[in-house]
């Protein structure tokens, strides 16, 4: 045995050993555990509300990608359309497809002869069925004179009932007559009514009838608008940031510019819409309701944020790299474009994409410049009248018809997907720039 005495026993008493110290330690652990718990709770609350949101939207909206169709045999008789062999698109478009449909109804339900009954039968189909028939003939004129079995779009009321979103009668939210319900049940028994994939929702534009609407009009409008916005805001923002960061003398004037950029970033977006209306449309005479003007307005709105993000990214480039470039005899511009900008690019891109995501969701300023019009064509360019996805959603949400509810939710899903794709693209782009060290 050695007689070495360990400290803590004899000698100077340590303040970090003993009951008091143990108590202090326990309090510290408790505080840490509490903090961790609060963090977890906040995170869970956020996740939960996100899940609820997504669940509501998806459960409401997924049925919009299917639409109820009814199987029926139609005859494309030349009397109603045009003589067999006609290829002229205009004449084919002008055919009486309503008559084609009505004749088919008469054949299928030959027992229904009273006027009321016929009207109820016609009510099973909306305008979508006629458009469908017309599109078939235009795509394939050889159909004229032939009898074919087709699945035709039912009326939105039928669709809502068949999908079970509403009951039959008015008391349960539906708009079906008893005879219509009987016909539908009969069709169901024969397998002649079913929900089928509805591609038109992804390829069409706006319509009065919920079964005929599509999001492509809004999507293309958003794409054109954002493209213009990006093409303006990105280069202008970078140029402004470079000037302010690298060239501008630090004086009263640049200070004021700086403060105002920060203020502009906080201005409500409607104000930019009013500005766009007054400047671009009223003063410069740009065509209203077009993605061109929308892009200009959103670019004005995004510019301050892009400048702020770009300045932060440029400022974050280490001074040692600047010194290295200058020390070897690079001019200021060479230093900026060869070294500073490439290193700042990932940060600038991140900031820009976040701004673009915000711009994608903007509604208010675009309402001001007339991008809220009812437009049934998919825009083909930045000069066509168009609407954007969020405005489209806003208009559908405003529509009292029951069929628009699921369309609204489905359009929100498309908007979210659009945003995800955009952000994924941004991350990919950023990674590419980062890989060049």
């Amino acid at each position: 045995m050695s007689d070495v005495t360990h400290s803590g026993g004899v000698g100077l008493p340590s303040r970090h050993i003993g009951d008091e110290a143990a108590k202090r330690l326990k309090r510290r652990y408790a505080a840490e555990a509490r903090f961790k718990f609060f963090g977890m709770a906040a995170l869970s609350a956020a996740c939960l509300s996100l899940l609820v949101l997504l669940w509501t939207i998806v459960s409401e909206g997924y049925t919009a990608f299917q639409q109820t169709h009814i199987k029926i045999e139609v005859e494309f008789s030349p009397d109603n359309i045009a003589p067999a062999g006609t290829a002229d698109r205009r004449r084919l478009m002008a055919g009486d497809y309503r008559a084609v449909l009505f004749e088919a109804l008469d054949r299928k339900w030959s027992d229904v002869t009273d006027r009321d009954g016929q009207r109820l039968l016609e009510g099973l189909f909306g305008s979508g069925a006629e458009v469908q028939l017309r599109d078939m003939v235009v795509a394939d004129p050889s159909l004229i004179g032939r009898k074919v079995e087709v699945w035709l779009l039912s009326h939105s009321d039928v669709d809502m009932f068949f999908k079970g979103h509403v009951g039959a009668d008015e008391a349960s939210g539906g708009r079906m007559a008893a005879r219509q319900v009987a016909w539908i049940e009969a069709l169901r028994a024969k397998g002649e009514i079913e929900k089928r994939f509805h591609g038109r929702f992804l390829t069409g534009a706006d319509s009065r009838d919920p079964e005929m609407v599509g999001v492509l009009g809004g999507v293309m409008g958003s794409i054109f608008t954002l493209a213009i916005c990006f093409l303006l805001a990105f280069p202008l923002g970078i140029m402004a940031a470079i000037y302010l960061e690298e060239y501008a003398p630090k004086n009263r004037f640049t200070e004021i510019v700086e403060i105002n950029i920060n203020n502009l970033a906080a201005v409500p977006s409607v104000v930019f819409g009013l500005l766009g209306l007054a400047v671009f449309i009223a003063f410069f005479g740009m065509p209203r309701s077009t993605p061109l003007v929308g892009g200009f307005v959103l670019a004005l709105m995004s510019l301050p944020t892009v400048i702020i993000a770009a300045r932060a990214a440029i400022k974050a480039v280490p001074p040692s790299i600047r010194e290295a470039a200058l020390g070897i005899g690079a001019s200021k511009m060479q230093m900026i474009f060869h070294h500073v900008l490439p290193l700042a690019m990932p940060g600038i891109l991140t900031g820009t994409i976040i701004t673009m995501s915000h711009a994608l969701g903007e509604t208010a300023p675009l309402l001001m410049i007339g991008m809220v019009a009812f437009i049934t064509d998919v825009p083909g360019g930045a000069l066509d009248a168009a609407t954007v996805l969020p405005v489209q959603i806003f208009m559908w949400a405003d529509n009292p018809e029951r069929g628009f509810i699921e369309k609204t939710s489905a359009a929100i899903m498309v908007l979210l997907a659009f945003m995800l794709v955009m952000n994924a693209g941004a991350i990919w782009l950023r990674k590419r720039f980062e890989r060049r060290w």
Partner: protein, 276 residues
């Protein structure tokens, strides 16, 4: 000077100044009455010194005494500091570098710089070297660039270590290798003078030894000015040493003379470790 002090620094410790009379070399940079103000702060006060060709001049002195400030006057890096104002005359090969007709970009090609912290570009080793020659138009074909890369890396004693990975990032090298890469980058543009601001202060002793050997070799072809806070380093690598204190140049002499027989009391105090 007490006997103990004389013991500590023997003439044998000045291998670099063993050659006869370093003061006989031609003057490369002649500075007269150089003053620098940062705003109202007078950071450098009337410095006059001749920096001679093909030898190493060391600037020593306590931190904050203006060594870096003076060094950065020699390639006009102070131009990038908005508040800095430089007066006096600095002649490089007889030409005033603060003459408005002088192009700064060209000046910095003639007077290269190596910084305290290794700062390779975040690009490949090859790109680091060829960047300078490319922007100055010193070469045009791939073969010429390849030749410059090899010559510069050999000149910086780095070629054998990196010749198989020229396309890997320069930032992936060790600290000492990075600093030699920065030296290679500086000599790639064939400067006349190389300024080094505490080039070894971020390096470990082995990497420091490498760089010091390199500096001694570079003296054959370049005029070198090195700032160091390490007096042993000044003694090892330099032929001439200048001692700065509170913004003034206190004395400048052959390195051996400064360390064995300082004329000024402040110099003596500094090298004996009384303050610093």
């Amino acid at each position: 000077m007490d006997a103990k002090q004389m013991d500590a620094i023997k003439p044998a410790q000045f291998p670099a100044s063993a050659d006869a009379s370093p003061a006989k070399m031609a003057v490369k940079v002649a500075c007269r009455d150089v003053n620098v103000h940062y705003g109202t702060k007078h950071a450098l006060k009337g410095v006059g010194i001749d920096i001679r060709e093909r030898q190493v001049t060391a600037f020593i002195g306590p931190s904050g005494c203006g060594k870096s400030t003076f060094l950065r006057c020699l390639n006009r890096m102070n131009d990038t500091v908005a508040s800095a104002r430089v007066t006096g005359s600095i002649l490089l090969g007889g030409q005033d570098i603060y003459d408005p007709k002088i192009d700064v970009v060209q000046l910095r090609a003639r007077v290269g710089m190596v910084f305290q912290k290794p700062n390779p570009f975040p690009k490949s080793i090859y790109e680091n070297i060829v960047y300078g020659p490319r922007i100055h138009g010193l070469a045009s074909t791939k073969a010429e660039f390849d030749e410059i890369v090899e010559r510069s890396l050999r000149g910086a004693a780095l070629w054998d270590e990196v010749k198989d990975r020229l396309n890997e990032p320069g930032t992936g090298l060790s600290g000492g290798q990075q600093q030699r890469l920065c030296i290679a980058r500086a000599i790639a543009v064939s400067p006349e003078v190389i300024l080094m601001d505490e080039p070894c202060s971020a390096l470990d002793p082995i990497a420091t030894a490498h760089v010091e050997t390199l500096i001694d070799e570079l003296r054959e072809n370049f005029t070198i000015v090195i700032v160091t806070h390490n007096m042993q380093q000044a003694a090892r690598v330099s032929q001439r040493t200048a001692f700065f204190h509170l913004g003034t140049l206190v004395e400048e002499d052959d390195t051996a003379a400064i360390f064995t027989n300082p004329r000024d009391e402040r110099t003596q105090g500094y090298i004996t470790g009384r303050y610093g």
